[in-house]
Symmetry: C2
Subunit: 329 residues, 2 copies
DNA sequence: CTGAAAGCGCTTACAG
DNA sequence: CTGAAAGCGCTTACAG
């Protein structure tokens, strides 16, 4: 049951440990005869280099921490994103030969934990996935001098890739206005989140610019908050004919309220969401929404990190927004 | 920029490396005066033990591989599960002081990769998340003698926690029959998956037992396959008055076909799904479905693994099924 | 091209 | 209770 060491391989092959190491690591300066006898010994013994020993000697791990700000339970709005992002980032990193260490960073405790882990040289780099607001982690880690990138904007010191939240929101509102809608309301996300702020800004900018009055209700990205906000909007302004929700989940909640209040969608009120989650396909009517390219987003962020490993000094990147028109507008 | 070593701490504190190590690891046999001076030095230097060195010396890593069988792209049916399971398992493992290394194992290549990784002693144990069929990995890993568990049944050699698929399907069918439905069809998942097989068996068992004829169409767990299968069922047996789909996504597809064909749900045809994904709440009408307790499932599986670490010899576990009745029946 | 030796940064019997 | 020393299993200049 004892695993074979490099030394055992050397003994069996009748060569030095140095030579075995060279063969294992594909050094070019190895005689074919030696290579052959070593490889045979490796095969016969079922040798696999011990990770910790190698890491200690090389000072590298070939691992990357994928740090996801884990929201409080119940806030499921980002579940589809979690899945898409974590999956795609893992695929890309594995393809690049990096192992993914997944770390959740919801509480202050877990943030300390992450910082310690990184400080212990467990990983060569860090990818932050931070859909949720202000965090102490980015700046803490950035100071350590370890390569780090962020999916979503966080700290000025951390290179990032972000969605064009502002452009996307503007696209949605222009679309509604272009249909002849006059009284366009918005339901915002939690305003301590940058994405929420930007989507709201996109909305208000277009409304102002086109001479319309802003009609705002505040939600928190959950479906229930969307339903509540919609009820309030209807009460405040029964004549509104369109609503832009800052995410799909709230849009879905709004649809339900509209149905309950006897409004037809899109005839009486048009609805646009944001994110293009899978559930947006299943609503009745199917939801018009701003597409968040989660897969591309994850890919671009991984590329940014890999670039950093190569010594690059990469600039932040903004992904273009895209409107998917379905039946709700 | 050079990180301080244990030796540096010892020098600064004026004690031996042994003593520093003892303090760091909380050994009880340390004089308070020494502990104090060491802790101060640690603080002043910002010392964090080097992970690889420690792993090499102790032969342990405090890490666990979370191996997820990553399906081909496009098969999104398990996304909500991926999210719930990965998240909950991570939470639990982190709480137990284990670091989570996420590994995707969709292709044969990545499976080799996982086997190598485990063989390299990167981790102390493995948790498989294997919603998808027969896999070479479980038996390969089980042979290595490393603690391993599986969420979902896989290999006889691997302890697992599973959903009661059979019981859940039976529950669904009995519910439909209990409503007076007579011609109850089923849409199955891909039949190379154990979960699909069991859900089908649950259906046929109850149908036979109650003297009803089975009406079966085969799907693949995607929404589109559910829509197609429903179309076919309607064509074969226009008089059917209920359908049990082996997952929610297919049930959602079936709902759409039923609407298009002018059937009212639940008046003309009742529909039951399986899994209770979030989208099941948003359909019109909201979907009756068998709840898959993903969170509990992940928790139980982690507990099984932690038990193995403690030297336990844990038996497989079956989670009880539960029917959530909504508007579609 | 190959090998002997030092070193990576910890932990852990072993003496005292 | 404390310290000197050996050892964990690799890699990598350095000589030859």
């Amino acid at each position: 049951m004892n695993r074979p060491t490099l030394e055992a391989v050397a003994a069996r092959a009748g060569v030095s440990k140095s030579s075995v190491s060279r063969v294992i690591n594909g050094a070019s300066t190895v005689a074919p005869s030696i290579r052959e006898v070593v490889l045979r010994a490796v095969r016969e013994l079922g040798y696999v280099p011990h990770a910790a020993a190698r890491n200690l000697a090389t000072r590298r791990t070939n691992a990357v921490a994928l740090v996801v700000s884990d929201p409080p339970k119940g806030l499921v709005s980002d579940d589809p994103m979690f899945s898409a992002v974590v999956r795609q980032a893992s695929r890309k990193l594995e393809a690049a030969g990096k192992q993914v260490v997944l770390m959740l960073a919801g509480s202050e405790d877990s943030r300390t934990r992450v910082a310690q882990y990184v400080a212990a040289s467990h990983v060569d780099g860090v990818m932050l996935v931070s859909m949720h607001g202000a965090d102490s982690l980015p700046s803490t880690l950035a100071r350590k001098g370890i390569p780090i990138v962020s999916l979503g904007r966080t700290n000025p010191a951390v290179p990032y890739v972000d969605n064009d939240n502002l452009g996307g929101a503007a696209l949605a509102v222009r679309h509604l206005l272009g249909q002849g809608r006059r009284r366009v309301a918005t339901i915002t996300g939690p305003l301590d989140m940058i994405a929420s702020q930007e989507r709201l800004t996109g909305y208000t900018a277009v409304m102002r610019e086109t001479g319309h009055r802003s009609i705002v209700a505040i939600g928190d990205f959950t479906r229930i908050s969307g339903a509540d906000a919609m009820r309030q909007l209807l009460q405040d302004d029964p004549g509104l004919d369109a609503v832009f929700a800052a995410n799909d989940l709230m849009a879905i909640g709004a649809l339900r309220t509209l149905r309950e209040s006897g409004r037809r969608v899109p005839d009486d009120v048009a609805v646009v969401g944001f994110d293009d989650i899978e559930a947006a396909l299943y609503t009745t009517p199917a939801l018009t929404t701003v597409h968040s390219p989660m897969t591309d987003w994850a890919t671009a962020t991984v590329d940014l990190l890999l670039g950093l490993f190569e010594g690059g000094r990469n600039a932040p990147l903004l992904l273009p927004a895209d409107l998917v028109v379905r039946e709700s507008t």
